[in-house]
Amino acid sequence: MTSLNFKSRVSLNFKSRVPVFDANVRVGDLLDEPAPYRDREGLLSEMDRHGVQRALIYHAHGENVSPIIGNEYLEAWLSDDGRTHPQWLVIPTSDSLAQVQSLHAEGRVNCVRLFDTGQRDLPFRPWAYDTLLSWLSEERIPVWVLLPEADADALVTTLQAYPSLVTVLVGAHYVHALWLRPMLAALPNAHLELSRYEPIGEIESLRDEFGAERLVYGSWYSRLAMGPMLFYLHHTNLTDAELASVCAGNLERILGGGTQ
């Protein structure tokens, strides 16, 4: 597999040339931030514009109000056409866990996204999360964990207590530049979602150091524009096989080959 010939491939217009399964898409409105599209058709239209076939979606209402209600709202964005796949939000309460366990019993849970309890000063420690993390670990359900407001030490030491748990670390930014290498080294089952991670040359460097299988394309649309990171990935020296893995294959593997 060869590297890309960069200069000959840059154009004023861009669409992905490999299949794309976006690992981080938000649907619906935040309290203070209406989404730029009103319905599923609007989302699919934006995906089509960039050549994105599938997206793992969660509902905005679950991000800053109620994971339980947000998950209910998410149903309207799903379809059996295979283009939108549910990512259920979960918070360490018995009600939230019961909802996700019920969905799991129906065969509808292939991953979950942790509510950012840092918003409410609940430390990410086993005493607060053990019931939830133990269940996810036992059921081999991968979990998306937000980095922006995380306590790095709590995150690493807590996840190390569940060594079989597969994680995707979401929203790394250049302010996390000091964290990522020791974090990825300490958590061999962790993957890095790339939507916000822009320090120069870092995607290629992390590929060299940890392998492309640890990297996952996510746009975090509609918080961020859908296209720029996808364009970036297409203009690195990743091989075609690595590009395909980062854009879709790694997520498919994490989700266990199926999503619903």
Partner: protein, 249 residues
Amino acid sequence: MIDGTQVIDYHGHVGRWDPLGMKDDPKLMLHAMDSAGIDISCVFGIFHPDGTTSNDQAAHFIAQHPNRFIGFAYVSPMMPERMIPELTRAIDELKFPAIKLYPPYTLWPFNQPQWHPIYEFANDRGLAVLFHTDGGELSRPRYLSEIAPQYPNAKFVAGHAGNVIEPRTEAIAAAQAHPNVYLETCSTYRTPGVIEQLVNEAGADRVLFGSDTPLMDPRPQIGKIITADISDEAKRLILGGNARRLLGV
């Protein structure tokens, strides 16, 4: 070069900021530029208030690849006696074609008198001035609406175009009201629809592509322009046409 358009990145740095992963390694920067079709990056140092240290650092960096990088002159009102002599040196001797200012590393909002000697200098010589702008009180884009009409021969560029919604609205209003105000695009926020908003509300001839390299890789930042829902002609202006006009290159 992208589809026949020479691409100029209007916002870049020299120096290292290791805690954030920023390093001005020319090999890394050129690899990223070549990968994305960027011909020239404008760079400046902002970490030294004397100006001289930063400008010499930029000049040394540029000298390694003079066809790929352009320097902007940096000075600070924290050392007011040095501002005009250093600007004169950087423009006349180092041949830097524009000025970069960074209000957060000073004590004064950039509409205050401490800054005006720089604007007078730029106005006398018809130079472009790039500001860091954001929602902080030192860096509000609304100040452009005060200073731009006072110095009509200078050009004023709102770096990051205000960065987030409220200051971005101020930046656009300044560009709408004053023909010598421009908007530069780099931002870690990458909010959907922002490039389209800048083009639709201020005009494609007033928008400049910038990346903040090497704090940020220029590839996702140029990706914002390439993947925006705007015309190819607008993209050509943003990616290089407007910068060539401002810099005279």
